[in-house]
């Protein structure tokens, strides 16, 4: 059981770290783009409202050897489907909207005037963003990463479609609970549920504290 826990935490951490730069870049672009950015906002939030199985099926199609991407990966010898890489991919895609939306809100609430004033002081948009907006938004950004991490801990639908439920290879906490319930070993399922509830509770509480701190700081 500990290895399931460790595997799930590792997958969630890798997924969170992989999507953070992409979410940050897109959130920053969308923030600067104003109304044009709404297209990206909607696209970024899409996996949040789609059935996870629909997302899983799309990923399955994209990665199958019939598709150009799947075919290319096979030619260079990269196997994704039904490997831990597929688990990371499913977690990344499904948790991306939470991180992107949280980043967007964190940047938005960092008060654009500071960014504007930094530019009048000679800073390029990139420098003003890195030196002023990011430090003011870091609590909100960290909160978004935590929420995204939590979402990865519980990811099920897309994962089971593209990674399967292979014990010791692709089985995460959520899949293991499903497995235990199917096999009638409810006690084990209960222990796993307790773990995931405990972790998520602590992490979501930290995320809420960070958001409250950011609001307070900017209000001051």
């Amino acid at each position: 059981m500990p290895h399931i826990l460790l595997f799930t935490l590792t997958i969630a951490a890798i997924s969170t770290l992989c999507i953070a730069p992409i979410a940050l870049a897109l959130a920053a672009w969308s923030w600067r783009a104003g109304t044009r950015g709404m297209v990206v906002d909607a696209l970024g939030a899409l996996p949040l409202v789609l059935p996870p199985t629909a997302v899983g099926f799309m990923l399955l199609e994209i990665l199958s050897r019939r598709s150009p991407i799947g075919g290319f990966l096979e030619r260079i010898g990269v196997q994704v489907l039904f490997t831990p890489k597929a688990v990371v991919l499913a977690c990344a895609v499904m948790s991306f909207p939470l991180m992107f939306t949280a980043f967007r809100v964190a940047i938005e609430t960092s008060d654009r005037r500071f960014f504007d004033v930094a530019r009048t002081l000679g800073a390029s948009p990139a420098r003003a963003f890195v030196r002023v907006t990011l430090p003011l938004a870091w609590r909100g950004l960290l909160s978004g990463m935590i929420l995204s991490f939590c979402r990865s801990l519980g990811e099920f639908g897309a994962t089971i479609l593209i990674a399967g439920n292979i014990p010791g290879r692709t089985q995460t906490l959520a899949l293991a609970i499903y497995d235990r319930v199917q096999n009638g070993t409810e006690r084990e399922a209960l222990v796993l549920v307790a773990w995931v509830v405990g972790m998520a509770w602590v992490l979501v509480a930290i995320s809420s504290v960070l958001i409250a701190q950011q609001r307070r700081r900017l209000a001051a």
């Binding site: 004033v117 009048t120 000679g122 800073a123 390029s124 030196r131 900017l218």
Partner: protein, 345 residues
């Protein structure tokens, strides 16, 4: 020389401003919502306006030629109304954000008396301290133009005095300034040229004293003097000072004893009493002989401009003007109550 021809759609009107500024300090005066802040933000490049903005030989904006320099390339120092100090940086770091020149930093810290504040968190500063830090930060960029958006708004009297003193020091550095305010007397205290905005358009522009002497523009007409050379007489309760134009004034000692000079003071045109002949026994310490230079009557009110060593604006009722048979060129005496003077800063 600053040429401005800016068009920007705003709700509920369209900002359309065309003016040429040559003065060292130009006041941009107008009521709240008249478009002042939008105009300075357009000049700073923070709003995408149409038109043309040229400072000396540098074109910042020329829509016809497709030129629209980003804010970081405009070389314009901007101090917003609330100073907008970066809350995550200490005071010294805020100032250095504008540039890294050591000598420049030291001289600004000295001129604006910032040394005791350098290690403080910017969130812990008072309103006046914030303005001084923001001013130093903007000046670190060696701007070709400084934009100050209502720097004295929401600052109480004792602090106003200090900020105005620092602003006069900045003015004396020779950096062109556009000073936004909704208070005509602030405009008179600092600027020699004035642009009045109303609903996004230039309602009047010209020398500050002339423009702001017009009651239609300024509402309440104020006489504003920069006074210096104080001689305190605590026993008599007075302080004798001299205006830049050579007018000797008497101010109440208790109100200016702690003030820093040169000091800007104001007295409303309503608080000046007119005599047809020299008053012999009067409590007012400020009595001047003058000549009526202009006389403008409207709705029971007569606004006079009187030539003394400094031109003075006076507002009396039409009845008083008729009783005194006032005409242009008439010699009159004016009395200014010492305690009617207000300190601007």
């Amino acid at each position: 020389m600053i040429e401005i021809d800016v068009r920007l759609p705003l709700a509920p009107f369209r900002l359309e401003v065309r003016c040429s500024l040559t003065a060292n300090v130009t006041a941009l005066v107008g009521r709240s919502g008249s478009g002042k802040t939008s105009l300075v933000e357009s000049i700073a490049g923070l709003r995408r306006a149409q038109g043309r903005i040229v400072i000396d030989d540098t074109t910042l904006l020329d829509s016809d030629r497709g030129i629209d320099l980003p804010p970081e390339s405009r070389g314009i120092g901007y101090v917003p109304q609330d100073a907008a100090l970066f809350p995550h940086l200490r005071v010294a770091e805020n100032i250095r954000f504008g540039g890294s020149g050591r000598e420049r930093f030291d001289s600004l810290v000295e001129a604006l008396e910032l040394a005791p504040l350098l290690e403080r968190a910017s969130a812990s500063l008072s309103g006046g301290e914030r303005q001084r830090v923001a001013l130093a930060r903007a000046l670190m960029t060696r701007p070709r133009l400084l934009l100050l958006d209502e720097p004295l708004a929401s600052i109480d009297q004792p602090l106003r005095e200090r900020i105005l003193l620092y602003l006069r020091r900045v003015r004396d550095l020779g950096i062109p300034m556009i000073y936004v305010t909704h208070q005509p007397f602030e405009a008179l205290a600092l600027s020699s040229w004035c642009v009045v905005l109303r609903d996004g358009r230039v309602a009047a522009d010209g020398p500050s004293r002339a423009v702001l002497a017009d009651p239609a523009v300024a509402g309440n007409v104020e006489n504003v003097f920069e006074v210096s050379d104080p001689h305190h007489d605590p026993a008599l309760g007075i302080t004798r000072v001299t205006t830049g134009g050579g007018l000797a004034l008497v101010l109440p000692y208790d109100q200016v004893a702690e003030a820093r000079f040169p000091l800007v003071v104001r007295i409303s045109a309503d608080d000046v009493v007119v005599f047809g002949e020299k008053p012999s026994a009067i409590s007012s310490r400020n009595v001047f002989e003058g000549t009526v230079a202009s006389l403008r009557a409207s709705e029971g009110i007569v606004d006079l401009t009187v030539t003394t060593p400094e031109p003075l604006s006076v507002r009396i009722t039409r009845a008083a003007a008729e009783d005194l048979s006032l005409v242009e060129g008439a010699t009159i005496w004016l009395a200014l109550r010492s305690r009617a003077f207000r300190i601007v800063g």
